[in-house]
């Protein structure tokens, strides 16, 4: 299988007045071509730094990477011809309409007018932007602006798309539209490198995932292989008729609103479900989600604060 991105011992330290922060620490992994690859982790985990390095916006402190076979340090022009990026928190130029902006971006990349218009019209329809195609971007909602940014890069002819938290701020329906467009990009055999802290998004879109935590690569693989690595692959939800003491012998217990959440192995899961049914209490059994895996591996949920503070821009 061809490799779109290959990172070898990538490290990045931001230095600033009074100190430094290690954003990436010896990260190595490959991203196969033609698939959507999910990079997950909390804010400050190193996702955006990884994206900026491989997107040729930032130089690593040490280590290297190849993108589409080209070295990020010495062959950045070759890489830039083949990539497109929606940076985190990016916003469209306010004085353009949706159509003008997408069209302008495509022409800026060197695309001829006829092809730019065709691609623009396709992406506008696909991302549900037809109603606002002639509206100034300054008059769009935050979610619509985000979709315009995503539309710009999806309409491009880039082989590799970098999407840094592309659905942040979107409503569920708009998120689904963006997902559908991303899926279309991979059907066209393009590679998508997606960072997100929505695990459902990563799971729905990505054929492989990498979890970064504090600049370190914690897990890498397909969603199924990641699940297989987890020691406690079942999640049992029980009502509050159970006490924590009754459950601790089965595995780690977390009290949640209206009951308890238990992570356990298959044999113990069967036992507890049978006991619950015998007691007539409510019980639900499911394989662990990525959110649960994150909780087990890292010890706290993905949306619980930042790993560490980093400066916006290095000095």
């Amino acid at each position: 299988m061809a490799t779109a991105v290959s990172a070898q011992h990538l490290s990045k330290t931001y230095t600033y007045r009074g100190g430094s922060t290690q954003a990436l620490d010896d990260v190595s992994f490959d991203i196969p071509a033609g698939e959507t690859y999910g990079l997950i982790g909390r804010n400050g985990a190193g996702k955006t730094t990884f994206l900026r390095i491989t997107g040729t916006l930032l130089l690593p402190s040490s280590g290297t990477a190849t993108v589409l076979g080209y070295d990020i340090r010495t062959e950045e022009r070759e890489i830039r011809r083949r990539i497109a990026m929606v940076p985190q928190e990016s916003r469209p130029l306010y004085f353009a309409t949706t159509e003008q902006l997408i069209d302008g971006y495509l022409r800026m990349r060197g695309m001829d007018g006829t092809e730019a218009r065709r691609r623009r019209n396709d992406v506008i329809d696909e991302l549900g932007l037809a109603d606002v195609r002639r509206r100034l971007v300054s008059r769009l909602s935050g979610g619509q602006r985000r979709r315009v940014m995503v539309a710009m890069v999806l309409a491009s002819d880039a082989e590799l798309l970098f999407l840094d938290e592309p659905t942040t701020g979107l409503d569920p329906l708009a998120r689904r539209e963006v997902w559908s467009a991303i899926q279309r990009a991979t059907r066209e055999r393009r590679t998508v490198l997606l960072t997100t802290h929505y695990l459902d998004e990563a799971e729905a879109l990505s054929s492989r995932l990498a979890l970064l935590e504090g600049g370190h690569l914690r897990i890498e693989g397909t969603p199924d292989s990641i699940r297989a690595r987890v020691q406690l692959p079942y999640r049992v939800t029980l009502d509050s008729s159970w006490s924590v003491d009754e459950l601790t012998s089965f595995g780690p217990v977390t009290s949640v609103v209206g009951g308890h959440l238990l992570f356990t192995r298959e044999k113990e899961a069967r036992e507890i479900v049978q006991s619950a049914l015998a007691r007539g209490s409510r019980v639900a059994l499911a394989p662990v989600s990525l959110e649960d895996i994150f909780l087990q591996l890292v010890g706290r949920p993905l949306d619980e604060g930042e790993v560490t503070e980093k400066p916006e821009e290095p000095e």
């Binding site: 830039r80 990016s90 004085f95 353009a96 003008q100 022409r107 800026m108 060197g110």
Partner: protein, 254 residues
């Protein structure tokens, strides 16, 4: 990128950053002309018309300098607030094309200002052909070094407020204080050297000598050696700043 694609890229940036905002908010056009016209009015009234020709050429220099240095605010806004520069860096668009596109889109804003001052120049000033070419050459060089300077500065700013601090400061240090709107002979000889710390003084010297050669507003005897020095400094500075912009500016973060 092929030459045709570069041209498309350049025109697209001018369209997105220059034409569209100008159409959406025509007041931008007045903004660039307000200060030079205010200076012209003030100097014309205060000197009872004696320095009008200096105020007109000074207005041209200020307008073109503002066009060049004004790029820094747009670049910082696009880089820090909109992250548009990141979108551009991670694309086939090359840095010189982006800067040229941004510079020309700034130039679009200055067209009314330049038009007004050029009309005034034609109507009020006596200029020889050489003087006209000198004026055009000096303006091109001012635009070149101020754009390169603005671009280099912008890549080091992390907040648009820094650009807001620098823009008026540059304007004061390069056009209000130096002898751009008035003859250099108005400055006492003992501190005249300080005026030459500003590159616009060399440009103004050239333009003022053009006025003198045409027989109007002559305050200093024209000198071939001084003219050569002015051209040399202005051209050298422009080349140095463009090279600096091309090599030292942060297109990719270290």
């Amino acid at each position: 990128m092929s030459a045709r694609n570069r041209a498309r890229s350049f025109l697209s940036i001018v369209y997105l950053n220059g034409i569209l905002p100008m159409r959406a908010q025509p007041l931008y056009l007045l903004n660039t002309i307000a200060s030079p016209l205010a200076f012209l009015f003030f100097i014309d009234v205060a000197s009872r018309g004696a320095l009008s020709s200096f105020a007109i050429t000074g207005g041209l220099i200020l307008t073109i300098l503002t066009t060049g240095t004004g790029i820094q605010a747009d670049l910082v806004h696009y880089k820090q607030d909109l992250k548009f520069q990141d979108v551009v860096v991670a694309s086939p668009v090359e840095a010189p094309i982006y800067v040229a596109g941004m510079a020309f889109s700034e130039f679009v804003y200055s067209i009314p200002g330049l038009a007004v001052f050029l009309l005034l120049s034609v109507g009020v000033l006596d200029y020889t052909v050489v003087g006209t070419l000198t004026l055009a050459g000096a303006l091109v060089l001012i635009w070149g070094f101020s754009t390169a300077f603005g671009f280099t500065l912008a890549t080091y700013f992390s907040d648009i407020r820094e650009a807001f601090v620098f823009a008026p400061l540059i304007s004061i240090l390069m056009t209000t204080l130096p002898p751009v709107y008035y003859p250099i002979t108005y400055i006492p000889a003992s501190i005249r050297w300080a005026a030459y710390l500003s590159p616009t003084t060399y440009a103004a010297d050239l333009v003022h000598r053009g006025l003198c050669a045409a027989g109007s507003a002559c305050y200093e005897a024209p000198s071939a050696a001084a003219t050569a020095v002015d051209w040399g400094v202005l051209t050298g500075l422009t080349v140095v700043l463009i090279v600096l912009a091309a090599t030292k500016a942060r297109w990719r973060e270290p």
